[in-house]
């Protein structure tokens, strides 16, 4: 180390570090450097240790809460309610489609009957002919309206897809919570259970938690 080290502008190094860097004693330099690195590492490990302990404590408390009270009711209810929304909206859409299926042939029959009346009509001012023409206009408007009504029912599919996404998000939060509890069990030295598959029912949730004595 030939050139004397000076502190770079704006970054004042402690005098002992500058002395060390300028020292000609290589062994003392290495030793001092090791000590500094070790000190830094110890600070880091202590901070990590505190974090890990806090996390472990929080997850253990969560596990105990889950074991005592089960998965929060609000979460289970949220999924259930969304499932009901999906079912009810599908039912409503099907009822509308049933209505279309029922009315469409009637509109077609009305149009055909009106045409038959017009074919036999002797004059355009014949009241039956006037009524038949009105019936044709109505039947045609009715068919168009029914077609629009069918298309509009696709809202159920679009809304349903969004509802399904929210349901699967809630499921993934539940699974993550349980996985966290499982990991804490493993960290605490308990035997870790076999891989957690998807948990579908409250019974499965409770069974899983009981493996950890929760």
């Amino acid at each position: 180390m030939n050139a004397a080290v000076t502190a770079p502008a704006g970054e004042a190094l402690p005098p002992e570090v500058i002395d060390l860097l300028n020292s000609k004693d290589g062994a003392a330099f290495e030793q001092a450097l090791d000590t500094m690195v070790r000190q830094r590492e110890q600070h880091l490990f202590r901070a990590l240790g505190v974090l890990a302990r806090d996390l472990h404590g929080a997850v253990t408390r969560l596990g105990a809460d889950l074991a005592n009270e089960g998965m929060p009711d609000s979460m289970i209810n949220a999924r259930k309610h969304l499932g009901e929304v999906l079912e009810m909206s599908a039912q409503a859409a099907h009822r509308s489609l049933d209505f279309v299926d029922r009315i469409r042939p009637e509109a077609e029959a009305l149009s055909q009957n009106a045409t038959a009346v017009l074919d036999f009509s002797r004059s355009e001012t014949d009241p039956a002919a006037v009524l038949a023409r009105q019936a044709q206009v109505f039947a045609s408007a009715c068919s168009e309206g029914l077609n629009d009504m069918v298309l509009v029912q696709s809202w159920q599919d679009l809304a349903g897809q969004r509802v399904k996404k929210v349901v699967s998000f809630i499921e993934s939060v539940e699974s993550s919570l349980l996985e966290l509890v499982r990991l804490t069990g493993a960290l605490a030295g308990r035997e870790a259970p076999v891989e957690v598959a998807k948990v579908h029912s409250q019974d499965e949730v409770d069974r899983l938690l009981s493996e950890f004595g929760f």
Binding site: H94, L97, L151, S154, D157, Q161
Partner: protein, 131 residues
């Protein structure tokens, strides 16, 4: 023409069927499947002329179904129309690369469905004529 309508929502299957009938396709020749797996089994077991499929479905998605159809020697020429709420660029490109014949974003109208179907049949006719 025998058509297979694939969607996990029964409402949507019914709407597509309704529209196809309105466009002049025969109601009894339209069949339905609620996911890609069932659709693929039906396509292998029976002769269909066209598939109209959704994208988002459990077990096997629409894009997986499309890929499976293109990979199956007996089915690879089957026209596939995708009717989906997925409108992001990557997915549309993925469908195009997988060999989709048409792509309709929900919600759609009967006019759009007719346009896309006409285009599919025009292309197939041109391909058939040049072959």
């Amino acid at each position: 023409m025998k058509i297979l309508v694939v969607d996990d929502f029964s409402t949507m299957r019914r709407i597509v069927r309704n529209l196809l009938v309105e466009l002049g396709f025969s109601n009894p020749l339209i069949q339905e499947a609620d996911d890609g797996n069932n659709a693929l089994a039906m396509l292998k077991a029976n002769a269909f002329d066209m598939v109209v499929t959704d994208w988002n479905m459990p077990n096997m998605t629409g894009i997986e179904l499309l890929q499976a159809i293109r990979a199956e020697p007996k089915l690879k020429g089957m026209p596939v129309l995708m009717v989906t709420a997925e409108n992001n660029r990557e997915q549309i490109i993925a469908a195009a690369q997988a060999g989709v014949n048409g792509y309709i974003v929900k919600p759609f109208t009967a006019v759009t469905l007719k346009e896309k179907l006409d285009k599919i049949f025009e292309r197939l006719a041109a391909k058939g004529a040049s072959a």
